[in-house]
């Protein structure tokens, strides 16, 4: 509880800092004027451009980190991340088809991306479901094969795209929070909260399953059901995140491991702390991405990797020395 409270406090502080930083700098009085009702440039930039983007970064970061933690438990593989099962490739294919078929229709890319992600989730699930239950290793193999197949289709389609759509899809593939206006943020928040809660409810069972599926069965855990619900929650989190913001790398892999190194492997703590830490990392990365080279925006996915990898290596070395 104390840990979560501290993290939440840090996160709020970060959001506050992020509100002040950007291509157009503001003073404290600009911000207070904007908050207390003066309609003007500051209020437009703060409340219509910056705040929605920060909110989206919070929820996308949280959902990617939680999805990564879930997939690492479900697939019993430390290298698992939200994209390992091809969900983001499915979303990318959906977005590309939307760009090719309906380049001038607004909001349709996110819908196609969501549909692609969910369709991939369903197909991979069917492929991974053998002998009446979800097998971790066949699920992982099915996901990896689907991901490489979908990537190949994406590469074929890319050769047929014009340069504008090619650049659009490249930005999308690197992760892009700059076009949040087409995303229904309320729906994203609702989906992330619901799927996050579903995942958290599985936490005690996931803890038991860490010792092995047989041991969990012996303790009375309905392993098949827990696996299904975890898969459902993690896939939904991933699908919503990629549909809203493209495939932002590294957070889903790195943040759960970071949190594990600090707080241990109890999923009841791991899931909420991952969510908070994922949100914080993405808000920080996006704030840097939109401000250090302004007016040019850097791809946020690259910033997360540059920030995250050294931090991760530092924590890993420190914990192995201890």
């Amino acid at each position: 509880m104390i840990v979560c409270g501290t993290l939440l406090g840090l996160l709020l502080l970060l959001v506050l800092v992020a509100l002040f930083v950007g291509a157009v700098p503001f003073t404290l009085s600009d911000v207070t004027n904007a908050i207390f009702g003066q309609k003007g440039l500051a209020s437009i930039i703060l409340f219509e451009l910056r705040l929605p983007r920060i909110v989206l970064a919070l929820f996308v970061g949280a959902s990617l980190a939680m999805a990564g933690a879930c997939f690492q438990a479900l697939l019993r593989n430390a290298l698992a991340d939200p994209y390992v099962l091809g969900i983001s490739s499915g979303a990318a294919l959906g977005v590309m088809l939307a760009l090719i078929w309906l380049p001038h229709t607004s909001g349709v890319q996110a819908v196609f991306g969501l549909f692609g992600a969910l369709a991939t989730t369903g197909i991979v699930y069917m492929l991974g479901f053998r002998h009446g239950r979800l097998m971790s290793h066949s699920l992982l193999l099915a996901g990896v094969i689907s991901a490489s197949f979908l990537s190949a289709v994406i590469v074929f389609l890319m050769t047929a795209m014009n340069s504008r759509d090619l650049r659009s899809i490249t930005y999308w593939l690197m992760g892009d929070l700059s076009y949040y206006t087409g995303v229904p943020i309320g729906l994203v928040i609702a989906a992330v909260l619901a799927a996050g809660a579903l995942a958290w409810l599985q936490a005690p069972s996931l803890n038991a399953m860490l010792m092995g599926e047989q041991e969990a069965l012996a303790m009375g855990v309905d392993v098949a059901r827990v696996k299904l619900l975890t898969y459902l929650a993690a896939s939904t989190l991933t699908a919503v995140a990629v549909a809203a913001a493209g495939s932002i790398g590294f957070i889903g892999l790195l943040v759960p491991h970071l949190v594990r190194l600090v707080f241990g492997n109890d999923y009841r703590i791991l899931l909420p702390t991952s969510a908070l830490a994922g949100a914080a990392v993405l808000v920080l990365a996006d704030t840097l991405a939109r401000s250090i080279a302004a007016p040019t925006e850097l791809p946020v996915g690259a910033v997360t990797a540059v920030l995250g990898a050294p931090l991760f290596i530092y924590l890993l070395r420190r914990s192995s020395e201890a």
């Binding site: 229709t105 504008r164 892009d176 206006t181 040019t296």
Partner: protein, 302 residues
Amino acid sequence: MTLKRCIALGLLLLAANASAANLANAANVLTDHFGRRVSIPDHPKRIISLAPSLTETLFALGVGDRVVGVTDYCDYPAEASSRPKIGGMINPNLERLAALHPDLVLITKEGNRRDTLNAIEHLNIPIFAIETARLEDISRMFRDVGRAIGKAAAGASMAAALDQRVARVHSAVAGQPARRVLMVVWLQPMVTVGHGTFLSDMLDRAGAVSIADTESQPWPKLSVEEIVRSDPDYIVVTRSPGFAPTRDDLLKLPGWRELTAVKQDRIVNLPDAAQRPGPRIGDMVETLARALHSSAFAEGKP
């Protein structure tokens, strides 16, 4: 009490009327090339251009002093480079754009994203979309940008001048055999011009046809085998910053040594203006026609 209320109501109505009248006077409602109805202030004073071709058009219409923001790629005329930059065409910085207080933003259908248009529309900034897919769209752009910025006459005369010039070039090459051209937009991969783009229209008016004109794609990628098989009469290279291959560079490519056009040095270089559907396109059509059909323009013909 009731009297006070009546006076207050009257004042309120007056104010409302006045502001409505102001709005009606101040705004023109024009239809952009997406078919959107856009309300634009009369003679906009703070214009942002989201494409180099639009920036060139604004300066050519004589309102360069009203341009307050351009993209990173807007480098012509030289004065345009000194305007505040709002980022690239695909990822303009919306905060920077809003901070420049534009009263009109111009955007293209081809080079920018629809998402960008939606985001700017969402900020209640008038945004007008322009299509420049074909050569005839360019004169339409001159007319419609002219209307949007309160320079309708200048826009119309620019459009008429371009149409006349292109027609003059086209009639000068009318009796000539059409040159089969490989137009090099990019070398690796080899991107050329297909059917239905302003570049294929430009070739047509200059008495030429792309060897990839049968392709259904606007920007087909051609294999070397296909290029060698069709053995184009001329190679036209549209240069851009960082892309200026010389004849020696072309000779080094596998198979290109065998092309008749390379052997006989029938290589035409065009500046990057050729890739911009803007005010310099008339020059490009004429330059290309003169290079491909020098005899048609010889002995003092127009």
